[in-house]
Symmetry: C2
Subunit: 125 residues, 2 copies
DNA sequence: TTTATCTATTGACTTTTTGTCTATAGTGAG
DNA sequence: CTCACTATAGACAAAAAGTCAATAGATAAA
């Protein structure tokens, strides 16, 4: 009965949007370490409209990633203004990212299948 | 601040998984009318593991589609066993489906962008 | 003809997720 | 010292998705 699509074990949805967000964050951190606002900026690459996004969501995602051991953080060196919490991806984060990319690939192919089915029927009218 | 990714206006997520499910249902109904269990069967085409899925979720989705005017239902002709509620897509359902497919296409391309970014960095190791 | 069983659908309850709003805290300017 | 700005954190409420029955007709079996 349980264990719906994709992954996730919780009830109300079990991952979903956060999954894509966290995957993007891991890809960004795979490239180079970063902190809240720098990552927020990097998200634009993946279609996030960050102007319309509450940054709390990003920090929540980062804390979840850290709790899961996929990233570690430390207070960064002096930067003009308040201290920044710098995030770095862990080896476990790297291998998890590989799995997540696989899952996204799977998801993309499911969407493709639906697109194809729709286009096929559309022709028949 | 509001109006996150994709669509939806509510708080807790605003569409997401249901969106893909309902899109699949509309594609199936675009092809031919159907009822609960026949649609459940059709979902297998799109990667749903229906054995592990509570059918309540499907009926909830169908009722939502009907409330939105995207499908209509009527009690079907005699079929061995209890009555079946037959669903048919409406013209509004057809045009909404076109939009939804567009949105899914967009989502697919976002995933592709992330896959590409990941593969690009991966090479550098 | 009761009883049991299977199919089809519906509704209530509950947990989890997610959006929003507010708070803390350091820094620099006036 | 006060004000404004940046960076992060936490609490709360609303909504979504998962689970668990309940209803109800029809057929088969005892």
């Amino acid at each position: 009965m349980p264990r719906g699509q994709g992954f996730g074990q919780g009830r109300g949805g079990g991952r979903r949007k956060m999954f894509f967000l966290e995957s993007c964050l891991l890809v960004l951190l795979h490239r180079e370490q970063g902190y809240g606002y720098s990552l927020m900026d990097g998200l634009k690459e993946y279609g996030f409209r960050t102007e319309e996004m509450d940054i709390s969501i990003l920090y929540r995602a980062l804390r979840e990633l850290e709790t899961a051991g996929l990233v570690v953080s430390s207070w960064g060196e002096d930067s003009l203004g308040p201290q920044r919490r710098m995030y770095t991806i862990t080896p476990q984060g790297e291998s998890t990212l590989t799995e997540w990319i696989q899952a996204l690939r799977q998801r993309r192919m499911e969407i493709e299948a639906l697109e194809a089915a729709y286009d096929a029927v559309k022709k028949n009218n």
